[in-house]
């Protein structure tokens, strides 16, 4: 069992952070995102427009706890078509 959370970043979020995947410590989602903003200042501009998946399910409350072994997907606003 991994001790960390995998954060998968897409499109503008990946571009802001410079990585597709990060391994971070567990915690509340808002806490994890706050740590990302501290480490990658460009992410602050993108984060408010993103939605999130926790283990594949849409997150409606950023206070949700994210345990070790979980996966978070960071999805900027879609722009298909």
């Amino acid at each position: 069992m991994p001790a960390t959370v995998e954060v998968h970043l897409f499109a503008a979020a990946r571009a802001a952070v410079g990585h597709s995947v990060l391994e971070v410590g567990p915690g509340g989602l808002a806490d994890i995102l706050g740590r990302l903003e501290a480490d990658y200042p460009d992410f602050s501009a993108v984060r408010p427009r993103c939605s999130f998946l926790l283990d594949g399910t849409a997150v409606h409350d950023e206070g949700v706890p994210v345990g070790a072994g979980s996966r978070v997907d960071v999805l900027p606003p879609f722009s298909g078509g």
């Binding site: 897409f10 499109a11 427009r49 900027p76 879609f78 722009s79 298909g80 078509g81």
Partner: protein
């Protein structure tokens, strides 16, 4: 319920005429086909190149979109495809086609299929402009 004849997120070029033919049917009196094509300008700036990226769930999301439209409208058939990867100016990024018995619903159903795809499909458009700047669309 409508035949869902194509749901595809692909890095190959889309052929709107072929997708329109897919929904043809001797029971269908009307076919409406939408193509969203890559333009050479966006907000007055010259677009040099363009790429679409998708989340791994894009295929299954597009299936859900197709099912929802099939259940909301009285269709004979529908087809929907989205392009990924680098795409040339003028090429189709999104093609949506529906066929119906009578024409009443065909425009509304095709427009709803396009709107729901754009709202739900987890894909992202990256534009590079002729001046060397770039942007992730909707995320400026």
């Amino acid at each position: 319920m409508a035949d869902i004849r194509l749901v595809e997120v692909t890095d190959r070029p889309l052929d709107p005429g072929a997708i329109e033919r897919l929904v043809g049917d001797d029971r269908a009196g009307a076919v409406v086909c939408f193509s969203g094509n890559v333009r050479d300008h966006d907000h007055g700036r010259v677009v040099a190149s363009l790429t679409y990226e998708a989340h791994p769930t894009a295929d299954s999301v597009l299936k859900d979109v197709a099912q929802e439209i099939a259940s909301r409208f009285d269709l004979v058939a529908l087809a929907v495809a989205h392009r990924l990867g680098p795409i040339a100016i003028g090429d189709a990024a999104l093609v949506a086609a529906v066929s119906t018995g009578h024409r009443g619903d065909a425009f509304a159903a095709c427009a709803a299929l396009v709107d729901l795809t754009k709202e739900r499909l987890p894909v992202w458009k990256h534009q590079v402009f002729a001046d060397g700047t770039d942007e992730w669309v909707n995320c400026a």
